[in-house]
């Protein structure tokens, strides 16, 4: 890349890609994987998601690692961003919960209220 113009093009393309993941492409799953998250077991949750998604042959799901969201007391944190822009933040996610989240939320379309940050944190 040698000019600002190239960079802008790349930015717009990247933005489109990201938005597609957010909006039209389906669901984006963000797993908080700073040191704090990894120490709390985010790696296990991340792998479990991959496993479950593959097992159930789910399409249009984009899973990515992100940095620390700042809610270190509630790690591991998994944020699910859906087509319509809904953000659901799951906290203290265990492998067992991942199974449930995949089944209920990703496949059934019903977020599991009791696992959400809003339910656990006062």
């Amino acid at each position: 890349m040698k000019s600002l113009e190239d960079l802008r093009k790349l930015r717009d393309e990247a933005k489109r890609n990201m938005n597609m993941r957010y909006v039209k492409g389906g669901v984006r799953i963000q797993v908080g994987m700073g040191t704090c998250g990894i120490a709390a077991g985010a790696g296990k949750a991340y792998n479990k998601f991959l496993e479950e998604i593959q097992e159930n042959d789910l399409k249009n799901i984009f899973i990515t690692q992100v940095g620390c969201m700042g809610e270190c007391a509630f790690e591991p944190i998994v944020e699910i961003i859906e087509e319509n822009g809904t953000h659901s933040i799951y906290c203290q996610v265990t492998e067992r919960m991942v199974e449930e989240i995949v089944e209920e939320h990703l496949m059934g379309g019903r977020p599991i209220e009791r696992y959400l940050l809003s339910a656990i944190k006062r």
Partner: protein, 606 residues
């Protein structure tokens, strides 16, 4: 009688500021006027997440949202909607609130007082994918700087923004860049100080792990401004995840030609390399850091000459902290004036804090400068758990001091914290409640600095050790009043005569606790009592009249020292008690105390 109609008025900060209270009063008045008091009731709610449209009023059961309500609109809502069931279309919110979008209420509360600049991308982009950073306007600032601005303009922009070093000292970043740019040499260096060593601080780690490219971009901007084409990131090896992500980021930036030769065809070359440190606290001091990069033992040297004149391998060098760099790209994207407008007059922008200790929501937060400590601890942090009382907050880590209840409403900025005998430091914030012994806390921090002192200068090497000896003695119950005087004298002497910042600030935790919690020290040396029940040799547990006789303490006592009947006040046999504190943890009504009789009432000033 149950009211059929509920009128919810948003009481979030923004709506509150927009006179939500006045609207409620007006509603109550109008309802009474129209004799509807029994039919409708008003409720102030938490933030509904539509702050820019506030004040928000919702009328149930119709679930009609009104935005930007003013007191003079209230009468219309009451007569039209409440009385005649005809919603007022004029005031209806344009886009009704999407319930799904505001599901995470507490998340809103956590974030509503925050403003994320340095952490703007943390937790929302994939740090190992440069495209996501570019998609968020990444490297646009670098492109603009290289193609449209001269180095002098760059420095001027940073100066105008009022950005100050986030590593702790708070030195104006623009000035620092200017000094380095004025030094004449054909080789200059940019160093990013990522040697984050304070106990309880992890904001730099979060930035590097969550958004490494923002630091790389800023270093390149700095290199262009001061005329350097080589940058080093000095990061501690104990941050393996951050190191790994930085490596990936640097390689990706090189692949995209955003680092390397002739960036953006501007003729400007810039390269970045990592240097791993062994995690010595003193290497956060810039001259010690430079020595460590050179392969020497990490020890500070006298200043001047400052690194801007004679730094790495004798060449002019600019050293900035991770968080400082993370702010830089935004300043160029949104303008210096935008940045200057955030925060207070002398400390612009935001500050990231790592909140820890006795607090509900441990975590990382970023607030505008000028936010009060109370807002940070109680509104964002959620207050103290287990119904304990707030005692003090320690800012600035081992170099900072304790701040007490009476100063909770002080707006946080560099100068205010220094005036309170503490400092901003890198942003660690440890909250302490009534169960923390301040003498023990001071001892903890001093223990840290004694271990981390490099040993080059005598005041720091010997002085801090002697102070620690005295504190150990006090915690063992062998201290005297004279010791307090010696502590103060020694502390001030170390402050005045140490070579570098480590020694100059090491006595701060002791001096500030001596100032604010002198009565606790006196309890230790005169009464031989540790009121918080931490120093085990000085602790006697007893049960107050608040005891409800639940027997939990007796069941949890490992040595059977507690006796008492159900529903009657229990008693601790001091001769059997091993002072483990298990009963205090078990008590549901906080009735087990280590404080001597009448401790709370008695005001002591010696």
């Amino acid at each position: 009688m149950l009211e059929n109609i509920h009128i919810l008025i948003c009481g979030g900060t923004d709506c509150h500021n927009a006179d939500a209270k006045g609207i409620r009063t007006e509603f109550d008045r109008q309802l009474e006027l129209h004799e509807l008091t029994g039919d409708a009731k008003t409720v102030i709610t938490g933030c509904m997440g539509q702050c820019e449209k506030g004040p928000i009023v919702v009328v149930y059961p119709d679930e009609v949202f009104y935005a930007n309500v003013k007191p003079e609109d209230v009468e219309e809502i009451v007569t039209e909607h409440v009385k005649n069931h005809r919603p007022v279309d004029r005031l209806k919110i344009k886009e009704p609130i999407d319930y799904k979008k505001i599901k995470n209420y507490s998340e809103l509360k956590f974030y509503s007082k925050q403003k994320r600049i340095a952490l703007r991308n943390c937790g929302s982009i994939n740090p190992t994918d440069i495209k996501e950073y570019i998609g968020r306007d990444g490297y646009q600032a670098l492109g603009q700087v290289l193609t449209e601005m001269t180095p002098l303009q760059v420095i001027d922009t940073v100066k105008r923004s009022g950005l100050r070093g986030r590593g702790g000292g708070g030195f104006p970043t623009g000035l620092k860049w200017e000094f380095a740019s004025k030094s004449v040499d054909d080789q200059k260096y940019v160093i990013c100080n990522a040697d984050e060593g304070d106990p309880g601080a992890f904001m730099d780690r979060a930035v590097l792990e969550g958004d490494p490219h923002s630091v790389l971009e800023a270093m390149a901007i700095c290199g262009y401004a001061i005329g350097a084409n080589m940058g080093y990131i000095y990061i501690r090896a104990e941050y393996p995840v951050a190191v790994e992500r930085l490596r990936i980021a640097i390689n990706q930036a090189k692949d995209y030609q955003l680092l390397g030769k002739n960036i953006f065809n501007s003729g400007f070359d810039f390269d970045i390399e990592l240097r791993l440190g062994a995690g010595a606290f003193v290497c956060g001091e810039e001259t010690a850091l430079i020595a460590s990069i050179e392969g020497e033992r990490g020890m500070p040297r006298n200043k001047p000459p400052f690194p801007a004149v004679k730094g790495l391998w004798g060449h002019p060098t600019n050293v900035n902290n991770v968080e400082t760099f993370a702010n830089v790209p935004v300043i160029f994207l949104k303008g210096a004036d935008w940045f200057k407008a955030i925060g207070t007059e002398k400390s612009s922008g935001t500050k990231v804090f790592a909140l820890g200790g006795k607090i509900m929501n441990t975590g990382l937060l970023e607030v505008p400068m000028g936010t009060t400590l109370r807002e940070v601890i109680f509104d964002i942090g959620g207050g103290i758990p287990n119904r304990r009382k707030f005692k003090s907050v320690q800012t600035g880590g081992p170099s900072g001091g304790c701040i007490t209840t009476k100063d909770l409403d002080t707006p946080i900025d560099f100068d205010n914290l220094v005036n309170l005998g503490s400092m901003m430091g890198s942003g660690g914030m440890i909250v302490m409640d009534e169960d923390n012994c301040m003498v023990d806390v001071a001892r903890f921090y001093l223990d840290f600095t004694v271990e981390e002192s490099c040993g080059k200068c005598t005041p720091c090497r010997e002085g801090t050790k002697r102070m620690l000896d005295i504190l150990d003695r006090i915690c063992e119950g062998e201290g005297t009043l004279d010791d307090l005087r010696i502590l103060e004298k020694l502390g001030n002497m170390i402050k005045d005569t140490s070579l570098c910042g480590l020694g100059q600030t090491a006595p701060n935790p002791v001096l500030s606790t001596l100032k604010h919690f002198r009565n606790e020290y006196i309890a230790h040396v005169v009464d031989k009592v540790c009121p918080a029940g931490v120093c085990s040799k000085l602790t006697t547990f007893s049960i107050t009249d608040g005891c409800i006789g639940c027997t939990k303490c007796a069941k949890n006592c490992p040595v059977g020292a507690i006796s008492g009947k159900v529903k009657e006040k229990h008693h601790i046999d001091a001769s059997l008690c091993i002072r483990c504190g298990a009963c205090k943890v078990a008590c549901p009504v906080n009735s087990i105390t280590t404080k001597p009789m009448g401790w709370e009432k008695e005001e002591r000033h010696v």
